[in-house]
Every structure is written in structure tokens, then in C-alpha cells.
């Protein structure tokens, strides 16, 4: 009897000790902040299966509701439990053309993982890590089968911009049997995934591989084509495209209009990151494009792009990198993981502080800046407490590089050339939130050009909705 009781006790104890959430292996902070290789190293198959087993396989999965592209999350996780990793990737592809990207850059904590039932009492299932695992497995093994392309419809669609929303539209519509051509202004495809997000967060080979999957499905790509000037939207329609999707992103950097902002050494985050990522200036002189290497770097802003800039500066050899942000820690808009990684890598957060002006030497090079301390007042229209300057709190900061990362606006190049596409007062395209339809017949838009600067996955969600609407249009009518 005694033995029996003990056994029951032991079994109960085992049941109580739940498997903890998998911890992603990473390069050590003091190693990785000197190289551009990817920070998280990926889960092993054993880790992935153990983590996948934590999923409750809910009948009504809240995580799927939290996903802007409605990935069948319990479905792909179940395949990982079964050891069918390639099958897991195929399940992902049904709803998401870019799983290896999303597994790396989605803000899971406010989407799928934020809704996970396991997370109510403990740590949620590491859905992002698992997505990355399955997609990486498929890419590296080449085992996963591509989705089946529907019979050709004979309809042609032009997708303008090869960022996350454009790639999603292209992926969805090629599967539905339409001819799809992507027009990209740069010489490389991927949009913000290649010019903006750094190699250490999203290796460019992975973006390349996701794009090549689309090409294998039949998507055509025309690079070096700046729609709006090389060709206009109207000309694309005249050339025989039945529908045009505009996903050109938020391609016009904001500056702060402060004295000294045009000194050498003050960059927009767009320029700093484009030089480093797209043009591979971190490999200078192997690549010809240089980028300024600061010793004392200040990044203005606290979003994901600011974190990317700060961590890039560290890797390019900066002694000190400061994030200067006018609100408090709570309001920092970056993903939790980015803030965590930045802090681990020695980025200093200077909060409740605003820049006032920049100082330079006779050669026009930046030598320092003046900052002002702030305090939080009443909530503003965004619901966040409004930062107010503290009088007389100005102080000087030595710096030789400043990256202005306070957002980006709509680039007017395409819309100026096609005035029939209606804009809001900020120059963003007005599009029906449910369908992505613009005010011009046959033209859809989505992503940052519509919403202003947002996330990869929201752009993809908009692309998904527009693709559905375009498909309806091509098969049923406007």
C-alpha cells in the first residue's frame, strides 16, 4: 500500500512540473555586439518537439485570432510534435508566404503568443520560435512540398514593391492561378526586409530564399523599376495588367527640423540602415558603399528601427550607443525582444530626454548635441502621457554620429504620378480597410503606404485581404 501511495504522489508531482518554455539559444551579448551574424541560433529538433508539446491544441484557438494572417497555429505545431517538420512548414505556407521572416520579426507577444491560453498562468507557447524552426527546417532540408498552383486564369496582376505586403499578395495570387509580376525600385527584392532590418536580426539569405520560393511558384520580378517614374500605375494598367497592388512602404524619412540637423554625421535611420544592410557597408571595403562609423552614437527614437540602428552602431565599433527617447520605458514602442537584446548588448537608454540642437566643427562634422529633460504630463490623443520639457534642464552630450529614427512618412513618388489614387492629409493612400481597394478602379494598396509606419505582419495582413479582394475582382468583378 505504502508503495502504491508513493507512486501516486510521484506521478502527481511529475504532472505538476510543467515543461518550461524553450529558451532560444543565442550568441552571447559581448560576442554578438561585434559581429553581424544572427543573434538567436534556432531551436534544435528536440527542443522544438518539447516546446510544441506544451501546446494545448485548443478547439477554438485564440492564437489564430491573434494572427493577422490567420496561420493554422495548432495545426503546424501538432506536426512538429509528430516530427513532421516539413509538413509543419507546408501548413505555414498555406497562410503565410514568409514564415521564416515572421518567426523572426513578428511582435508575437501582442499577437499569437499574447492570446495563448498556456500564457494565462505561465509562459505562452513559443509560437514564433516554432514557426522559425519549421520554416528553417524546410529551407535547409529542401523537404517541404510547395503548395499547388491553381489552373491559370489568364489574368495579370502587377505588384508594386517587394516588401512584406507585396510578397504576400504575390504569393496568394500566384497560388490562385493569376500571372503576377513584382516591380521593385531597388536592385534587390525584399523591401524593408533587406534595406531596413539588419542581417543579425534577419539574414538576407533567408529573405532571398523566401523570394525564390515565390519565383519557383511562377512569380516574375522586375527590379530597378521605380513605379511612378520608370513606369506609372496607369501605364501598367495600359500594358495589360488587370489589377495593380501598391505596397511601396513608408519611404520618406522624418527629420526633427532642429538646428544643425544637416551636419555630416546626422543620418536618417533609413540612410544608415540602407547603407549598412542593402549596400552591405558593414563589409566595406569588400563592398564599395561606406557608412559613417561613430564612436559616440546617439539614436533618436525608441521603435524597432531605432533598436536596429543602435545595435548596428555597436557592431560597427561604437564605444557608446545611447537611445534618446522623450517618453519613459513603458512607452517605448519596440518589440520586447528588441529592447531586451539592445540592453544586453550595452545600449544605454536615456529616457525622458529630447534633442534640442546639434553642434559641429568647421568642417561641418557633428561634435555634439544639446538635450532637454522631460517629464510626463496628462495623456495625449494617443493615450500615452504627454512628455513636457523641464525648463532649464538643457545639457550637452558629446557625439559624432546621430541616427534620427522618429518614423517615416509616405513617399509621394508613385502617388504624384497617379492623382486618381486618393490620399489622406498625410499623403497616405486611402484604402478600404476590409479590401485594400483605393479610390481608383483596379488599384489596391496596403502596408505602410496606407497605415503609416507599422509592422511586417500588419503589412502582410493587409496584403492578404487585398489579395482576396483582387481575386474576387478578377473572377467576379469590381
Amino acid at each position: 500500500m505504502g508503495f502504491y501511495l508513493e507512486d501516486v504522489m510521484a506521478e502527481k508531482k511529475v504532472k505538476k512540473e510543467k515543461t518550461p518554455r524553450a529558451i532560444m539559444p543565442e550568441q552571447a551579448p559581448d560576442v554578438r555586439n561585434r559581429n553581424f551574424e544572427e543573434v538567436p541560433l534556432g531551436l534544435t529538433p528536440e527542443m522544438a518537439q518539447l516546446e510544441a508539446a506544451r501546446c494545448l491544441q485548443c478547439k477554438k484557438p485564440a492564437c489564430v485570432e491573434g494572427c493577422p494572417v490567420s496561420v493554422n497555429i495548432p495545426g503546424f505545431i501538432h506536426k512538429i510534435v509528430d516530427g513532421d517538420f516539413a509538413g509543419a512548414a507546408s501548413t505555414l505556407w498555406e497562410k503565410n508566404a514568409l514564415p521564416a521572416v515572421c518567426g523572426r520579426v513578428c511582435p508575437q507577444e501582442i499577437q499569437c503568443e499574447g492570446r495563448c491560453i498556456v500564457g494565462k498562468k505561465g509562459q505562452p507557447v513559443a509560437i514564433g520560435h516554432l514557426e522559425r524552426f519549421a520554416a528553417d527546417y524546410a529551407r535547409e532540408s529542401g523537404e517541404a512540398t510547395l503548395p499547388v498552383v491553381a489552373e491559370k486564369t489568364g489574368k495579370k496582376v502587377a505588384v508594386v514593391g517587394s516588401g512584406p505586403s507585396g510578397l504576400t499578395v504575390a504569393g496568394d495570387l500566384i497560388l490562385k492561378g493569376h500571372d503576377v509580376t513584382i516591380f521593385e525600385a531597388f536592385h534587390k527584392t525584399g523591401g524593408v526586409l533587406v534595406y531596413g532590418i539588419p542581417e543579425f536580426r534577419l539574414p538576407k539569405d533567408i529573405v532571398g530564399s523566401e523570394v525564390s520560393t515565390l519565383e519557383q511558384l511562377g512569380v516574375k520580378i522586375e527590379t530597378n523599376n521605380v513605379v511612378g517614374t520608370t513606369v506609372t500605375v496607369d501605364e501598367l494598367l495600359e500594358e495589360g495588367y488587370d489589377a495593380v497592388y501598391v505596397g511601396v512602404g513608408a519611404g520618406l524619412p522624418r527629420f526633427m527640423n532642429l538646428p544643425g540637423e544637416n551636419l555630416i554625421g546626422v543620418f536618417s535611420a533609413n540612410e544608415y540602415l540602407t547603407r549598412t544592410n542593402l549596400m552591405k557597408a558593414y563589409l566595406f571595403p569588400e563592398y564599395d558603399t561606406p557608412v559613417a562609423k561613430g564612436k559616440n552614437v546617439v539614436v533618436l527614437g525608441a521603435g524597432n528601427v531605432a533598436m536596429d540602428s543602435a545595435r548596428t552602431a555597436k557592431r560597427l565599433g561604437a564605444d557608446s550607443v545611447k537611445i534618446v527617447y522623450r517618453r519613459s520605458r513603458e512607452e517605448m514602442p519596440a518589440r520586447a525582444e528588441e529592447l531586451h537584446h539592445a540592453e544586453e548588448e550595452g545600449i544605454e537608454f536615456v529616457l525622458l530626454t529630447n534633442p534640442v540642437q546639434f553642434f559641429g566643427n568647421d568642417n561641418g562634422r557633428l561634435t555634439g548635441m544639446e538635450c532637454l529633460k522631460m517629464e510626463l504630463g496628462e495623456p495625449d490623443e494617443s493615450g500615452r502621457r504627454r512628455p513636457l520639457p523641464i525648463k532649464g534642464s538643457e545639457y550637452k552630450v558629446d557625439c559624432d554620429l546621430v541616427v534620427v529614427s522618429v518614423g517615416a512618412k509616405a513617399n509621394p513618388l508613385l502617388t504624384n504620378a497617379t492623382p486618381e489614387i486618393g490620399l489622406n492629409p498625410w499623403g497616405n493612400i486611402v484604402a478600404d480597410p476590409a479590401t485594400g481597394k483605393t479610390t481608383k478602379k483596379g488599384v489596391w494598396a496596403g502596408g505602410d503606404i496606407v497605415t503609416g509606419m507599422a509592422t511586417v505582419i500588419l503589412a502582410m495582413g493587409a496584403g492578404r485581404e487585398a489579395a482576396d479582394s483582387i481575386h474576387d475582382y478578377l473572377t467576379l468583378g469590381w
Binding site: T230, L252, E271, T274, T289, L413
Partner: protein, 274 residues
Amino acid sequence: MFKIVHREEMAQGTIVLNEIEAPRIAGKAKPGQFVILQVNETGERIPLTMADVDPEKGTITIIYMIVGKSTTLFGNMDVGQEYYAVIGPLGKATHLEKKGKVVCVGGGTGIAVLHPIARGLKEVGNEVITILGSRNKDLLILEDKMAKASDTLHICTDDGSQGHHGFVTDVLKDVLAKEDISLVVAIGPVPMMKFVSMITKEKNVETLVSLNPIMVDGTGMCGGCRVTVGGETKFACVDGPEFDGHNVDYDELSKRLQAYQSEEKFSMDNCQCK
């Protein structure tokens, strides 16, 4: 794509002309607009204002001085070879309208940029007086073409080997004193454009200059080409490249052009391309 169909050396090989297949761009480009070229995947993106376009042939022409690694690599390419990337047409086209008498001032490879603009100004009915400057007569380019595009052509050389012995500004002052000029277009080195603008400002003559600051994308995306015009920050790539010469902060532009001087020197010194 982007195959070189014709190549010419000028100014004793220091300046090179490339005519490049780029049908989409050639079908669209207008005087004053530029392209961005990349020689290969590891190359820099270099903005160059087009010297000519041929919509029927589907070609564009660029003329560049060999000054650093990128232009050396450009210059090393033969007919039949291809640029890795050419994008455009970028920037705003020159507003060509009948003004009456206009003066076109060009220096260095700026003459190549000036040529289609002078030709366009003449085509719409202006009397075009052209003033070209170079260090000496061997470095002067496009003299014949500019003569055709102009009603009057003045040449100035620093060493007096051809035409006026001295600067374009000397001749410009003369012309402005004698003639009733309604527009001056000045394209060349920054100091030339600065001094031309100083002279025309005194006389209150409208002046256009074409700026070529450091750029990356050329579509307004990076803001690297910021110039101060009339106290406001402008992006040369989308707001320009032409601006009211009287309002440009030339000193800031000159300094910003030096931003990567040491990297450029390093690249050139370590390049196997010479």
C-alpha cells in the same frame, strides 16, 4: 539589360561617355533628370544626370569624369558589357519655357548635363548664349554639340589655351552688362555655381543650378542628399536636382560632399581597378 552600346573617351581619357540600353528609362527621361547606376553587385549607387536619351533606340547617355573607384570601374567597362543596375529617370525635369535671352554656363562634366537643357531651351525659342569653362583646351568637352545648341558660344580656359583666359564668371559679367538676360542656368563644380549665383543675384537674374550631392536610393527614401535651399531642407533627389541658385547653401553642400572623403581615398588607393 543595361548593356553599353557605345563608349567614347574625352578630355584625354579623363572623361568617359557611355551610351546604355535602358528602354524604359529612355522612353521617359527628360532634360535635367538623372539615373543611378551600379557597376556590379558590390558596387556603389552613383547618381549621374543624363547627357542624352534616344527613345527610339532605347538608350541613355551618361558622361562622367573618372575620380574614384566607382567611376574607374565604370570607365573600365567595354562596349557589350552591362551595368548591374540602372534606375530612373529620377528627379524633376528642367522646366523649359520661352524666356527670351538665356545664358547657359557649364564647367567640367557639368557641360554634359547642360547640353540637353541648352538644346531644349533653344528648341522652345530662346536665344541661348553659352559660356563653357575648363582648365585647358584639352579638357574641354562637347564643344561642337554645345555650339549647335547655342546661338553664341564663349569658351574660357584657366590657362588661356583656348578662348578667354580666365573664369566663366568674367565672361558672364560682360554678357550680363551688355544683354538683357532673363535666365541663367549654371551646371558644374560647386564653386562655379556659387560664384555664378553671386553675380546673377546682384543683377537679380533668375538662376537655376543642378546639384549632385551624395545619394543612396535617389527616390527620397534616405535623405542623404539633403541641401539647404532658402533656409529649408530639401532632398535633391526628389525636390531637385535643380534649384534656385540664389538660395542654395553652397558651403554646406561642399562640406557634405566631403563626408566620405577618407573612405573614398581608401577605396581608390586599394583598388586593383587602375
